[in-house]
Amino acid sequence: MSSWLDYTINGLIVGNVYALVAVGLALIFGVSRLINFAQGSIYLVGAYIGWVAVVQLHTPLPLTIIVVAAAAALVGLIIERFGLRPLQNSVRIAPLLATIGISFVLDQLVMLTFSPNPRALPSQLPDVRFQVGGGTIGPLDLLIAGVGITSALLLFVFLRYSKLGWAVRAASQDRDAAMQMGVDVNRVNQAVFGIAAALGGVSGMLVGMYYNQIDTAMSLQATLKGVVAEVVGGAGNVPGAVVGSLLLGLVESYGVAVFGTSYRNLFAFLLLVVVLVLRPNGLFASARQAPPEPLTGTFIAPSRPVRIPRWALAVAAAIFAILPLFPVSFYVLQTLINAWLLGMLALSLTLVAGTIGQVSLGHAALLAIGAYTSALLSLTFAVPVGLAIIGGGLMSAALGTTLISPSFRLRGHYVSIATLAIGEIVSLVILNWESVTRGPIGISGIPPLSLFGYDLISPTSIYWFSLSVMVVLALLQGRLLTSHLGRSFRAIRDDDIAARAYGLSLNRYKSLAFIFGGFAAGISGGIAAHLYSYINHETFNTQQSILALTVVILGGLGNVVGAILGSVALVGLPEMFRIAAEYRILIYGIVLLLLVRFRPQGLLGTI
């Protein structure tokens, strides 16, 4: 019995921490209709600023909290001013992509400054436990609860009694009307980002103290948890975010109690998917209303794609095909093989994110499914590698589509959240389903690529193999785009309401897009598994999903040639300039930010 009380207390404390993140997300969503994917990065920054304050400057606790809140708020203000304000009049997808880019840049800057190794963050509080009923509670628990409650009170007073607070509330209910009352929406945005960042930063510091450890992986986890809590409470609903956070904390805590620690996140994401499917507007929402009529597709910028003549493409393909016949280094071939593998993933993502408009942030999960299927088929069932890879593609198409299908009824930013969560779920299932996936140990000794009994071991043969697979997939996708399906996918992207009114079933066409895309991604993952010979649940991570998204935006959404061009550019250029690996992700983040700001239609344009 006593342990249940402990789990309840733990759940509420963790819920308090989530609430600090989620309330900020809700404020921002309320005013800007934006899910701020950089919230976790601010949390991370807060934790490291806390570390600097405590460990290097030896500040007393109250001062630490103030320093962290102020510094994090400053970061929030900078993000708002330079990252998001310039995008105010651009298409709705732009700020979403920008926060993703910002999050990568911030995370990498923290990693480069402090190294990726975990650090200890002492709590500065005496290590005692008080008996409460059957459970125990420590001073840090009380501190977290106190910070949570104080912040909620301060926020309440701010929103209810200050002029700026009124402006925030008015702007979140009707931005245009608020402007017509003289509310300066830029100031409101500043206030909201400042508050959200301060709360997020303090939250990161408290969590660091709670576990006495901080590392750069905290960022994505925090964003995900905050988003889960916010969506459960209803996006933009501040009190809802608090309730959603406490609920999430309890669900996780009880889940851990029953199934063990490694299931914690699985419960969080399952809760998210269930809420998104059953009550996409959150637990407390009631209104169901058709969205206002757009004049034309507004999520993705209109553009005229650059037309590249067929002969030019054929010449380019021929040049790459005969490249290994010339004395090129092993290193160049290796780089291009990576580009072709990424190209297959980008083809897949450009179809689902660009052509049908489902901006997936969990696309690496499709790689993972393909890779594990192909690896296990060839290892356990001795299926020939060529067939195993195709099996990986098929499994990824079938299973991936089934898993992602709950997101088909969602739109815009919600799709991104759902796919991100589903991607995490896949990775967690791989981690926990030890009897099949070998859990955290991963799968080693995967047989090398082979075709019709001949092993493909030389770089040249691997190069040709991966290039030809990618070209075949690209040709198929090009053919798909010129069929009635391509037309239907693009219609759904531009206006799903009008599309439905003309008989296009969203489930059917989104499924078909994911089946086709899942196959390409699964093939890419399958080939990768046999190339690497070892994979585990972290081989295909969110960074790859974001890299693929950057490639797709760079090339132009929905653009087949653009996806390949983007892959070569983003894999090839860093290699050419010999940029060290740890700076690459930083560069991808910056590229994404610059693209969103200056060329949202990408190099070759949206199709």
């Binding site: 004049l295 009635h484 206006d495 439905r500 003309y502």
Partner: protein, 275 residues
């Protein structure tokens, strides 16, 4: 052909559509008029499945269709246009109108779960001669539909819809609806944003469609057009049907004058009669 019984839809405290009854016979053109905010568009949404009623029933060709999805209703032959225009911005005029013919595509027909969609994917990739021929035929058909708008759309057939003027977007929507070969056509203010010449063209087109036997439900503010085209006129105000009848009957109904034409007019009428 279409019959609405006690159709009701509430938004919060507001009853947008309040117990509406309406019958539409085959080949009839019925207009719905009423001030902005009277619930006309909400009524269209309820009939086409984009919104579900809180009470009441919709029958189409003798079958209950209340609460069916818009995709199903499109397949049943109900096509509509949207008040503010919902064209597919990045699609060419040709592709926009071809989407209208979507429910007629052979590849779309097989309704088996899983296998149907996979067959559709296969057909799209392999494109056997029959599929190619069908696509060719539909393209010709689209051109014939676009030709009904004279030279307004034909020269722009390959341009993306976002580059069109308002009036042309409106025309693309109507062309898209016609490509469905509808049994029932719902037009939501087809002449909004059009000048008199364009309005006259649109009126002529709607008259043509009516003469061809198409059943049409029309929302329109331009009374002259409504009077000329309609077999019957229904007047809505605050979600309720306040009058129904032949054009001239409705026009002289004092309740209608009050609600729709504005009490200013009735004031003038009184002054005139006093004088």
């Amino acid at each position: 052909m279409l019959s609405l019984r006690g159709l009701t839809r509430r938004f919060g405290g507001l009853t947008a559509v309040d117990a509406i009854n309406l019958d539409l016979a085959k080949g009839e053109l019925v207009s719905i008029i009423g001030p902005n905010g009277a619930g006309k568009t909400t009524l269209f949404n309820l009939v086409t499945g984009l919104d579900r009623p809180d009470a009441g029933a919709v029958q189409f060709e003798g079958q209950g269709i209340t609460g069916l999805s818009p995709e199903r209703l499109a397949a049943e032959g109900i096509a509509r246009t949207f008040q503010l225009g919902r064209v597919f911005g990045n699609l060419s005029v040709m592709d926009n109108v071809l989407i209208g013919a979507h429910t007629r595509l052979r590849a779309v027909k097989p309704a088996f779960p899983v296998i149907g969609p996979l067959l559709e994917l296969g057909l799209a990739l392999l494109r056997p001669a029959s599929v190619k021929a069908e696509e060719e035929r539909l393209r010709e058909e689209v051109k014939a539909i676009l030709a009904r708008f004279g030279e307004r759309l034909l020269p722009r057939v390959d341009q993306p819809a976002y580059s069109l003027s308002y009036a042309n977007r409106r025309r693309v929507e109507i062309a898209r609806a016609l490509a469905l070969k509808p049994r029932l056509l719902l037009l939501d203010e087809p002449t909004a944003g059009m000048n008199p010449t364009e309005t006259a063209e649109m009126q002529a087109l709607v008259a043509e469609l009516k003469a061809e036997g198409l059943t049409i439900l029309l929302i329109e503010h331009k009374l002259e057009m409504v009077m000329r085209l309609s077999d019957r006129v229904i007047v809505m105000d605050e979600g309720k049907k306040i009058a129904e009848g032949l054009g001239e009957q409705v026009r002289s109904d004092p309740k209608v004058i009050e609600a729709y034409l504005g009490h200013g007019l009735s004031g003038t009428a009184e002054q005139e009669s006093a004088a």
